[in-house]
C-alpha cells in the first residue's frame, strides 16, 4: 500500500516536471514571437540561452520515466501516462528548438530594415501558440475534447503557412534585393507551422493517455 502510494506521488511529480517544462517552453516560444514582432534582440538572446534549461529538463524527465518503467512495472493508465509524458516532453523539446530557430532568424531580421506589417505571420503565430496552450491545458486537465480541437486547428496552420509561402514568393519576384528577408520569413513561417504540428502531437498524446486510443496521423479518435 505504501509502495503504491509512493508510486502515485512519483507520477504526480512526473506530471509537475512535464508541466514545468511546458511552462518554460511556452514562455520561450512567446518570447521568440515578441523578439520577432517587436524587433527585440535581447529577448531572442534570452530564448537561445534558456533552451539549455529545457534540454536538461527533457533528459531529466526521460530518466524519471525510465526509472518508473524499470522499478514499478506500471500498468494500464499509469503505463499510458508515462509513455504519454515521454511523448509530450519530446515534442516540447522540439518546440523549444523551433523557438530557438525563430529567435535566430529574428536576430538576423532585426539587423535589417523591417518588412512591412505581416498580418498572416501574426495569425500563424497566434494559431500555433493557441494550439500549444490548448494541448498543454488538455494535458493538465486530461480533457480529450480540447485535444481534438487542437488537432482540428492544425489545418488552419497549414493553410496559413501555404499562404505566407505564396505571398513571399511573389515578394521575391517583385523585389529581388530583399530576397534574404523573404527567405528568412519563410523559414520562420515553416518553424511556426512545425510548432503547430508538434502541438498536435502533444494533443494526440493526451488522447492516448486518457482514452488509450492511438490517433496519430489521422486526427480522429
Amino acid at each position: 500500500m505504501k509502495i503504491r502510494k509512493r508510486f502515485g506521488q512519483e507520477l504526480e511529480d512526473l506530471k509537475i516536471e512535464v508541466l514545468r517544462m511546458a511552462a518554460l517552453t511556452e514562455r520561450s516560444l512567446g518570447k521568440s514571437f515578441r523578439a520577432l514582432f517587436e524587433h527585440n534582440s535581447d529577448l531572442a538572446e534570452e530564448v537561445i540561452t534558456e533552451d539549455q534549461e529545457i534540454d536538461l529538463l527533457e533528459v531529466d524527465i526521460d530518466k524519471r520515466c525510465l526509472r518508473l518503467f524499470a522499478l514499478e512495472q506500471p500498468m494500464a493508465r499509469d503505463l499510458r501516462f508515462i509513455i504519454g509524458c515521454m511523448r509530450v516532453c519530446t515534442n516540447l523539446e522540439r518546440i523549444a528548438d523551433q523557438a530557438v530557430n525563430i529567435s535566430e532568424r529574428a536576430l538576423y531580421l532585426n539587423q535589417r530594415p523591417a518588412l512591412p506589417h505581416q498580418p498572416l505571420m501574426e495569425q500563424l503565430a497566434t494559431t500555433s501558440m493557441a494550439m500549444l496552450k490548448g494541448a498543454l491545458s488538455a494535458f493538465n486537465d486530461g480533457q480529450t475534447s480540447q485535444a481534438s480541437e487542437v488537432c482540428q486547428m492544425d489545418d488552419r496552420a497549414d493553410e496559413l503557412n501555404l499562404q505566407i509561402l505564396k505571398h513571399f514568393i511573389d515578394y521575391i519576384i517583385a523585389d529581388a534585393k530583399s530576397a534574404d528577408l523573404a527567405v528568412n520569413t519563410i523559414i520562420i513561417s515553416r518553424c511556426l507551422e512545425r510548432c503547430a504540428d508538434l502541438a498536435t502531437n502533444i494533443a494526440e498524446a493526451v488522447v492516448f493517455i486518457v482514452e488509450g486510443v492511438e490517433i496519430k496521423h489521422y486526427c480522429e479518435p
Binding site: I16, A22, E26, N140, D141
Partner: protein
Amino acid sequence: MLRKLSFRSRLLFTFWGVLLLALLLPSLYYRQILSADIEADTRANAIGELNSVFWLASREQPFKSTASLQEWCKALGDQLGIRITFVARDGKVIADSKVAFPRVSAMDNHANRPEIIQAYKKELGTSSRYSKTLGRHLIYAARRIDERGVIPSGVIRVAVPFSEVRKRLDHLSKNLILIFVLTFSATIFLSYLLVRQLEIPIQRMIRAAEAIESGDYRERIRRYPGREFSPLAQAINQMAERIELHIKTITGQKQQLEAILNGMSEGVMVLDSNGKIKTTNRALAKIIPSLPASIGRRPLEVIRSHELQQACDQILAGGHAGESQPFKLEISLDMGLIFDVNIVQFRDMEATIGAIVVFHDISELKRLEKVRQDFVANVSHELRTPLTSIKGYAETLLVEGDESSDSNRDFLQIILKHANHMSNMVDDLLQLARLEARQKLPEPAAVDAIAVLNSAWKACGALAKEKEVRLENFLPEEGVQVRADSEQLEQVFRNLLENAMKYGQSGCTVSVLCDVGPEVATFQVLDDGPGIPKQYQLRIFERFFRAEKDRPNSDGSTGLGLAICRHIIQNYGGKIWLESPPPGKTEGSAFYFTLPIVLEES
C-alpha cells in the same frame, strides 16, 4: 465472556440465574423434606404394623406346622394389606403372606437383608428397598422372634408398600414443577419488561450523545434512567454546551477570516505541506478562471509559471531562510498580466509546513511605469534634435558674429550655457531611461576599480583645479577587481566625486576608501562638506531632487547624477547609501556603494 454481551443480556442472565436459584433451591428442599417425612411416617407405620403382627403372633396358639403359619400369615397379610414374612435364624424363609406355600422353600436366603441384620443386632430393623419378589418399592420392618412350637427362632418381617406414598410424592413434585415453571416464566417475562424499561432511557441517552457527536450541538439529555446516570448526563450536556460555544467561536472566526480573504483585492492561495492548494479566495478567481477545480492541485497545474512552482517548492522544503520574511517574486502571465507574488511559510499546530501565496496584481502599475519610461525616453530623444540646432547656431553666432555688441555676445553665451546644460540633462535622462529599461545584464567583465577611479578623477580635473580639491586614494595597491562595466563605474565615481567637490569648500579633501568583503567590495567616497540634512537623506537618490531648493542652479548640475548612480549600482546587484555625518565625524558626508568582487576561483 459476560463482558462481551450487551448490558441488557447481562442483566437478564443475572436475573434469570438468581430466579432459578431462588425457585429451585426451596422446592428441592421442600420436596426432600416432604419425602423424608413421608418415609419416616411410613416407616413408623410399618413398625406399628410389625408390632401388632408380633403381638398377634405371640397371642396365637402355637402353630402346628409351617403350613398353618403360612395360612395365618396370608390371612393376616390380606387383612392388613401388608406382606408378612417369617425368616428363620439361618435366613431361610418359613412363611410369606404373598408367596404360595409350595414356593416358599424355593425363596432366596434372607439372612443378609439389611433389616434382618439390623433386627438381630438391635431387636428392630427397618429398610426401604425394591423387592424383586413383588416387583414394588417397599418399606421393610423386622423384629426378632423366639422359637415357638414348630416355628424356629428367627425374624418376623412386614413389608408396607411404598408406592402409595411415592404416588403422593410424585404428584406433589409434578405440582411443584408446574408452579416452578409458571413462576419462572412469569418472572422471566417481568424481568424482561423491567430490563427493557431500564434500557429505553439509556437508549435515549445514547441517541442524544450520538446526535451531539454527529454535530447537533443543541441536543441535550433531559431524562435519564437513574440517579447514577445524572453525573454522566450532566457531563455530556456540559460537553455539548462547551463544544457548541467553541464551534460558534470558531465558525465566527472562520467567517470573519473568509470575509477578510474574500474582501481582499489580492489573490490568496494556501498550500499544504505536500504543495497542494488547500484554500483560495475570491480574488484569485479573476486570475485563474478554473479556480473551483484547483483545490488539491499543485500551483503549476493551475498557473503555468515555472518560477512560482519553484519558489513554492523551495519554501515548502524549508530552503528559504528567515521564516517570517516573505519570499518575493514577479511572474508574468498571459495577456500581459504581471503579479507581484509574496510567499510566506507557516507552520500549523502539527508543525507541518505550509505556505501562503499572495498575488498582487501590478500589471497596471507596470504598464504606467512603462508608459512613463517611454515618455521620458521619447521626450528626451525628441528634445535632442532642436537642442543641437540651438547649440550649433549659438556657437556659430559667437564665433562669426563679430559685429554684434558685447551684450549680444553675453546673451549668446547665456543661451549656449543653458543649451549645454539642457543637453547634459537630456543625455542624463536618456541614460537613465536606458538603465531603467535594462533589467538583466549579461555577466559583466572584471575591471580594476583603481584604474577606473583614476580615469574618473582625470575627467573631473578641471573642477578639481578650480576648487583646489585633493583626492586621497586609499584603495589597496594590488587593485580591487569588481564585476562592472568600466564606463558605468567611471560615471558612478565621477558623479560622486563631482558632488563632493561641488558641495565642499575650496581646498578640501575627498577620500576614497574600500573595504573588500568575501563577496562584495564596499567603496566609500568621503568629503568634508556641509553634509546633508537627515530628512533629505532618503530622497537624495530621486531624480531632480535637491536638498537646497533655493540654491541657484549655476553649477551646471542636472540633478540626475545620484539617480544614475543608484541605477547603475542596482543593475549590478549592489547597494548605494549615504551617511551624513559619517561615523566618527561631525561634518561632511560619506557615500557608500557595493559591487560584487571577482572571486578567486572564477
